[in-house]
Each structure stands twice: as structure tokens, then as C-alpha cells.
């Protein structure tokens, strides 16, 4: 195989009895993203990926967006003899010298196979000495090196250079399935990403209120779905025609209750579709007190309208931190495009901040909107986004 990668897993390695199922899931998730034939072998906290894929960038993208692995490095493996190890290290060093001409280096060795003739310290010293001989301009710096070459002695010797960061967390599919309420904003894609890192598989649901919401707003949500799809290991986006229910609210609801009742309607539809999709929880981008519908009282009411647990991974996060995460997953620039949904037309000027759950539950019943909600769920369109 052309390309060989050493992958380090994080939290999975802490698992005991069920560790294998997590590993299997991670292996499946990585392979799903690679275009060409590939093989993944697992050895004590390490995954080894061999791939025919010529597109190195694709491999890197696949690995960096798959929850469950903490880092990965392009690597070579050689027989366990010091000459082969030295030569492999030299070829990595030559590449790194080109990248950092005046840099310093360090060799880090790890001997999992205690039967190997040299200790970790000796391996580092021998290889380091060899590199200094071959590349006289090099300098060692064990405290703050510009680059590191890693050597691991296992069944074979594995040599690798720079480590690239992975997503961390647990592999998608290792937990159950949930339904992400995806809007066009900054928060909900981040919420989806964070829950994917906890291993939750997800569908997403978007409420489209055309002609009050523009088709551009829907397109924006599709772009967001495609951007989080790699982290979520693929997702189905459900686009719900929501206008009729919103117009019912406009006609029948008390103005100050409109936002909360609208969100209740969303939760009800999400629950209906969740049942069909075997999702057993909802995920939202709510952050405490960010807007009127995200006060403790509002969240309490909203959660009471569904039997499913509602996960709100951003609940305690600062907006700045949410934005930082959105930037890191490349959703921020799309989220801030000016195609917000036109809910502003339906939003009250003075929404309820401290709703009484029972009172609102009653208001929701008085709307007699169940038929409309069911119809909306039935007319929902599904769009699949590849990982």
C-alpha cells in the first residue's frame, strides 16, 4: 500500500470491556471516508492505516475530521534492526530539514517490545548521532526542538515525523442516535459537532418557513450540513415546511408567547421524525440566557414538550468560545451570511422571559395545531450529506 499512517486514539484507550466495539466503530468511520482501498490494523492504542489513496490531502482531511482519534502521522515501518531504523529516520529528517532549514531536532523513542536489543534512550542516541553525521547542519535541542522524529519498537519498528491533530472524543456511532435542530446560525452546527465528538450519530432537522424564509436561507443550512457532515460521519437533513404552523401562531397565539410556542412546535415535529428514524434524543444549540427563549424557565418549558432528552452542549459556553469552535470547523463564515430566517416577522417585540410551563402547555393545546404539525412532518424532505 502506498500510504501508511500511525493513528493515536485517546479516550477509547481508557475503555475496558467494550473497547473493541469502539475500535471497530472508529475503523468503520475512517474507512467510510477514504476513496481508495485501505486497511486498518489495531495494536494496543494505535491504529495503522494503509491506503492506496493518492490524495494525501483527502486522507488528512478524513483523519482530522473523524472523532475518536487524537492525532495521526504519516509513518514508515521497517524491520527491527537499527540500520533500517536509521535510514528511515534519515529520509524523514531530509524532508523536515527542507521545511525547517535552520531548525533543531529531537528523537523520541518508545520500546513496546522489551526484547529489542537497545533501550529507548540508546535508540534515540544512536539515531540522533547518525542524523548528525549525515546532515552536519543539524542541531539537537531536547527541550524545544523545531521537529521531532518518533520511533516506536513494536512487532516492527515504526518511524514517524510531525503529528497532526485529530478531533478527539469518541467515534460517531458508539452512542445512540439523536436529532440535531439545525438553524442557519452559529450555535447549532457547533452543538452537532460537540455531540458527534461524544459518539452520537445524528440526523438534522431544519424548519423552513418559505416564503417568510428565503430559499437562500435553506441553501445556507445545506452548506452548514455539508460542513458538519464529515464530523458526524454523514447526516440526513430533514427540511420541514413550517409556514402553516407559523401562520397559525400568528393568528391564534398571544404575541409574547409566539417564540416559545413556535419552538414547542419544532420540538414536537423533531420528536415525530425522531421516532421514524430511531433517534432517542434531541440536540440544540441553546446557550443559557443568550436570547429570551433560552432562559432557564424557557428551556424548562421547551424541554417539557418532549419525552426525549434534550442535549444542549453549549449551555454553559461563552459566545466567544462557541465562535472559536465554529471557526475551527469552518462553519462560522457560512453562519454569518446575511440570510437569516425571517422569524423576526413572527417574533414578538417583548417575548416572555419567565414563562410558566403549565400556562404555556395549555396555550399550546389551545392552538389545536397537531394536525398541521403532523402534515408538516409528513411533507418533510430528506437530503443526505456524505461524510
Amino acid at each position: 500500500m502506498k500510504n501508511f499512517y500511525l493513528i493515536k486514539i485517546g479516550e477509547i484507550s481508557l475503555k475496558k470491556g467494550n473497547r473493541k466495539s469502539f475500535e471497530k466503530q472508529l475503523r468503520f468511520n475512517i474507512k467510510k471516508k477514504l476513496h481508495s482501498p485501505s486497511k486498518i490494523t489495531i495494536q494496543r492504542g494505535r491504529f495503522f492505516l494503509e491506503s492506496e489513496d493518492d490524495d494525501i490531502e483527502n486522507i488528512k482531511y478524513a483523519l482530522s475530521t473523524t472523532p475518536g482519534l487524537v492525532s495521526f502521522s504519516r509513518a514508515v515501518r521497517v524491520e527491527k534492526n537499527i540500520t533500517d531504523i536509521k535510514n528511515a529516520a534519515l529520509s524523514f529528517a531530509k524532508e523536515l530539514v527542507e521545511k525547517y532549514p535552520s531548525g533543531t531536532f529531537k528523537i523520541e523513542s518508545r520500546r513496546a517490545d522489551k526484547g529489542f536489543e537497545y533501550t529507548s534512550y540508546e535508540i534515540s542516541a544512536l539515531v540522533g548521532e547518525y542524523l548528525l553525521e549525515q546532515l552536519p547542519s543539524l542541531k539537537v535541542n531536547v527541550h524545544k526542538p523545531s521537529w521531532i522524529i518518533n520511533i516506536e519498537i513494536r512487532n516492527l519498528a515504526y518511524i514517524y515525523g510531525a503529528q497532526e491533530k485529530g478531533t478527539g472524543g469518541l467515534p460517531v456511532g458508539s452512542a445512540a442516535k439523536g436529532m440535531l435542530l439545525l438553524s442557519g446560525g452559529i450555535d447549532s452546527p457547533v452543538a452537532g459537532y460537540l455531540m458527534a465528538r461524544r459518539g452520537l450519530r445524528m440526523d438534522a432537522i431544519y424548519f423552513h418557513a418559505y416564503p417568510y424564509t428565503s430559499d437562500e436561507a435553506l441553501d445556507k443550512v445545506k452548506v452548514l450540513a455539508s460542513k458538519i457532515a464529515p464530523y458526524l460521519s454523514g447526516l440526513s437533513l430533514f427540511v420541514v415546511p413550517f409556514t402553516d404552523f407559523q401562520l397559525l401562531l400568528k393568528q391564534k397565539a398571544k404575541e409574547e408567547e409566539v417564540t416559545l410556542l413556535m419552538r414547542a412546535g419544532m420540538v414536537k415535529i423533531a420528536e415525530m421524525i425522531s421516532k421514524e428514524r430511531e433517534s432517542i434524543c434531541l440536540v440544540t444549540g441553546e446557550s443559557l440566557s443568550q436570547v429570551a427563549s433560552q432562559t432557564v424557565e424557557s428551556i424548562r418549558y421547551n424541554g417539557s414538550e418532549t419525552e426525549l432528552p434534550v442535549f444542549r452542549p453549549l449551555i454553559g459556553m461563552d459566545k466567544e468560545d462557541i465562535i472559536k469552535t465554529a471557526i475551527s470547523i469552518d462553519t462560522y463564515e457560512t453562519s454569518i451570511l446575511p440570510f437569516e430566517d425571517c422569524c423576526t416577522i413572527f417574533s414578538p417585540t417583548h417575548p416572555l422571559l419567565k414563562p410558566e410551563s403549565n400556562k404555556l402547555k395549555n396555550s399550546f393545546i389551545m392552538l389545536e395545531g397537531e394536525k398541521l404539525l403532523k402534515e408538516a412532518a409528513e411533507k418533510t424532505e430528506r437530503i443526505y450529506f456524505k461524510p
Binding site: 416564503p211 400568528k250 425571517c342 422569524c343 423576526t344 416577522i345
Partner: protein, 399 residues
Amino acid sequence: MNTYFAYYPIMKSIYFDWAATAPIHPEIPALISNSLLQFQGNPSAIHSTGKNTKIQIESSRKVCAKLLETKPEQLIFTSGGTESNNIILSSLFLKKPGAHLILSAIEHPSIYEYITNLKNFGYEIDLVKPSSDGIIDPENLNKLLKSNTSFISIMTVNNETGAIQPIKDIVTVVRNFEKKNGRRVHIHTDAVQALGKIFFNPAKLNIDSASFSAHKIGGPKGIGLLFLKKPIEVLSPGGGQEFSIRPGTENVSGIIAFSKAMELSLEKIQYNFQNIKYLKSVLIKELSTTKGVKLLFDEKNTKESSYSPYIISISVSPIPGEVLVRILSDEGIQISTGSACSSRNRKKQIRVLKESGVSENDASGSIRISLGWSSTEIEILEFCTILKKNISNLRKYHK
């Protein structure tokens, strides 16, 4: 169906968004296609293929000059109205800062958005606001003139309100002031919505520069014109084309097409004007009795005809304008709105309407109906029927 659109199966609809762009005139596509084949040389080349192209450009310039009653060398082909405006506004950065400029508060963004940079550069800027009818009173402008005023820009026909500004009277006021003050004032006007629609003669108006665009009169997109009474120093250098005012290899087929479109629209300007005026009256008669429709600029409120009949601005508030635009689009009617209810640039979007005396609520519900030479009475009536039906439906939810 409009017989004109029979040429274009893709536009089987009622198209009332001519102020955004006019459908290409049926004679133009073949002309462009032929000119692309016929004039392939670079007009700056000294060989015969290049020279032929150059001759053709000059011949098109002469056609435009004749139609606009200017000298050919006073016309510079650009990429459109925005670039024409940009050339003029950006040239101000080559002058000594500190002078005083007056812009109307309802200028197109290609002019208005210069304000911050011009201020930072050191210019003093005053905005002349229109009265509540959207029209600028020359007397108000007169009050703003200062001894160091060096530049004025007032749009001839506003693209959102259709208001025709009294350019002639404004020029008279400014020229009189000039004589007393002894300092020359450059008067620029964005005439994009005026060309081919209302009488517009740069020389008779005694202005210094004016901007035009081909695609508003049935020409292609990407070609415009700048009238310049006298050459100016410009910001962008290049290979000397277009008298060095707009360097860059010329858009030959665009130039040929523009001159043709200008010919076609100007030769029928009077006939079309009367026809459109009639259509507007039909539209207004129909809509004046429609509950929930407010005509934003009413001819009755002004002494004389001060609005272009080609642009009619109405409000269906509290129905959001953009919602109605989408619904009508689904029913095969193309109109536009000046403001979007949810946009972050809301303030920018309703600037012109607000400055023209329209309330924020009315602006949110505003839609623009803009007509063109092939618009028909049947279309107007069909449009009104569909509009009324939808307004009546939407008013159940927006009271």
C-alpha cells in the same frame, strides 16, 4: 403571454423588474454574436485586424454621441454604471483634500459608499436630503453651497422611488453660485435610470459628468458609459484606452451592442414614455382601490410630472415586501423589493426610501414594479389580479 417574450421561452412570465435589468432587446444577441466573430483584433494593435476593430468602436461611439448630442471624445465606455460612478468619485482622491462636496442622501451605493473614505481623506461632505416626496429642492442645495464646494452628485432618476430630480434647476443654482464665488464646481449625475426613458441631454443640462448602463435599456450586462465634459485625471492607470480614462482592452461587442440598444431605445423614447405613462395610470387605478396597497409616491402631491412612469413604488405593509416578492415569483411574476425584513444591512437597504419620506413600516412592506417598452396592459391587469389575490390572503395573517 407577452409576444415579446416569445423570443425567450425562459422568460415566460410577467417581468416587471426592468429597473434591475431590462430583458435583452431581440436585435442584440445576433449583433453580439456577429461582432465577436467579425471584430477579433485588439483595437490597440497596429495591424489591419486591430484597426478594423478600433474603427468599429469609434463608429459606435459616434452613434452614441449623436444620440446624446455630445462630442464623441466626451464619451468613455466603461463596464457599467457603477464603474462610471467609481471613476468620477475615485478621481477625488487625486485632488487636494479639504474641499467641500455635496451628495444627495439618495445616491446609489456606488456613490454613497464613498462617503467614509472621502471623509477620511479630508473632504467635508454635506448630504442634501429630498423633501418628503423624494424630490430634492434646488433651494435646499443652494443653502449647502460653500465657497470651497468643488463637487456635487445628484442622481437623475432614483432607482427605488422613480423620483426625477430637477437637475436643470439644480445646475442653474450651482452655476449661478459658481459665477459669484469664482470657483468651479463639478456636477455629476447618475443617469442610469434616465437613459432611454426620459429626455436627457448632458450638454443642455450643462453638467460635467454622467453615468449610463447598457443593460437597463436592453443591452448586455458589463458595458456602461461615462459622459465627461472635459477629461479628468483618474486613479487607475493602464494602456491608454478610452482616452486613458478607463484603460483596459475594450469590450468591443459590448460597445457595439450598447450603441445599438441606445439607438433602439432613444428612437422610440417619446412613444414608449407615453405608452408606459398610460400603463402606470392603469396600474395605479387598479391598485388605488385595493385594500392594503399604498402608493408611496403620488404624482398628485407634486406640481408637475416628477416621477418616472417606469418605476412604481408601493407598500403592502404590514406584509413584508420580500415575502410578497417570493410568492409572486412562484406565480410567474418578477418584481423586486428595496428592503429585506431580515437582512443585517436593513439600515442600508431602506436608506433611500427613508430619506425620501417613507416610514420604516412602509419601507419594510415596499415593492418596486418597474416597466419597460414591451410591457402590456394585459400584463398589468393580470399582475393586479394576482397581486390582489395574494394580498388578500396574506392580510389574514398580517393585520
